[in-house]
Amino acid sequence: MRKILAVALCAAGCGLITPIGLAASAQTAPGNATPLAANDEDATSAGIAPKGLPPPPADPRDFEGDWYPFTAPGSGPKGPPPGNAGGSNLPGVKPAASIFDNDENSPYSVELCNTPPLFLGTMGVAIVQSKDTVVVANEEAGDYRVILIGARHPPHFVPDRKGNSVAHWDGNTLVVDATGFTLQSGAPSDAHITERLYKAQNNTELVDAVDVYYPSTGRHEHRISTYRWRPDLKVSEEVCEEGYSAFEIKNGKLVIKADE
């Protein structure tokens, strides 16, 4: 019932929330009125980002900026190549859907109004990076995730939906170790996630290679997501909770508002 309600709520609200960054930037570039090359045939037919974008940081350890799935506007009609943010399957492993689904027993499923623990968004992310912190601001559901570099998991971390993420550098790859997850029910999950984040394609792509291990069953899952450097797009304010504005609480239950 709760799941049906959630779907209904999302249909009422989430779908109405246009990603400002996407739509706006498809019209004008930040700071000027020049139309972007979203309709540039050369760009789109090549399946690449629009031309004329500022280059990404040359430092392979610098992940800061706006990153979008290959399916974002201006990325081309050929569809996402292998490794798109929507999930791709590595040979011989479980379908991506198994880790990005609505199974309430999965620690990855998207609960309304919070993002799953990993990137895994179908919308964009903005990464803000300092020397010892990487924060991933996720357009999807307007949520964020903090990764502390060089830190250790706290001994008394209270498990939650996004878990606790610490990381270290392995060359130019940021190896993230995440644990302390709960399921949607609030029950703890034993999922232990190792992610390898690195830039590719002349720093224009950000790859998130994920390995998930469940010690209780010995099961492993893998997934690769790839995002593209898109400084022309800005993560917009997505307020998932707006979907609830069509509802009200009566007698402790969520009901559709009566017509006024």
Partner: protein, 208 residues
């Protein structure tokens, strides 16, 4: 010796200017909270703001809608600041909200006004000058119903003092709802917290 000088020069040149700037302002990084609870905003002289309209009476945060800026600072919950080279993030416990403040760029077009507005900034020495516009008119400025319109324009001067406190001098311009611009200041102290607990209003209300 000459080679050493060349090597040092090369090393200095290899550090991006932005990276150096970000390191200079690393003191802003960390978790902060309001130094003393302040449900209401007052002007710098301690007076009530020059309201031109009535205070709000319907608090949309009761329905889990966002708190907006600067009210998010007044909720008594901590927030994290992360200083990057091209942007600065304020990540709040309340509402799992985040505010991205882009550095050294002009405001860009958006298709709709936002609860937290759109923020750009530049460093003026050790002070971060933040300029925020493109707000919607849904949120309150504080917890007492201090309203604003979609003409709201906020400028902030964020600076650290020698004692390590963070000061946010806020100038509020909203010709629709106020008789003239006015200023207020919030002071934050560094929190011992390293991690912010998750806060999902909908779950708190038992809706998830």
């Amino acid at each position: 010796m000459k080679e050493l000088r060349h090597l040092l020069a090369a090393l200095l040149l290899s550090v991006p200017a932005g990276a150096a700037m970000a390191d200079n302002h690393a003191g802003f990084n960390g978790v902060w909270h309001l130094a003393s609870p302040a449900p209401a905003l007052r002007t710098l002289s301690g007076r009530a703001p020059p309201l031109a309209v009535a205070r709000g009476t319907t608090d949309d945060t009761d329905r889990c809608l966002p708190n907006g800026i600067p009210r998010l600072f007044l909720r008594g919950t901590p927030f994290r600041i992360t200083v990057g080279k091209t942007m600065i993030g304020e990540f709040f416990e309340t509402d799992h909200a985040f505010r991205l403040i882009y550095l050294d760029v002009p405001h860009f077009d958006a298709i709709a006004p936002a609860y937290l507005g759109q923020a750009v900034a530049k460093w003026d020495g050790d002070t971060l000058d933040i300029d925020t516009n493109q707000f919607n008119d849904v949120t309150w400025l504080d917890n007492t119903g201090l309203p604003h319109s979609d003409n709201l324009h906020l400028t902030e001067k964020l600076r650290l003092d020698r004692a390590g406190k963070l000061h946010d001098l806020i100038t509020i311009e909203d010709p629709t709802d106020y008789r003239g611009s006015w200023q207020t200041e919030l002071t934050f102290t560094r929190s011992a917290q390293k991690y912010l607990p998750e806060h999902y209003c909908l779950r708190e209300k038992g809706l998830l």
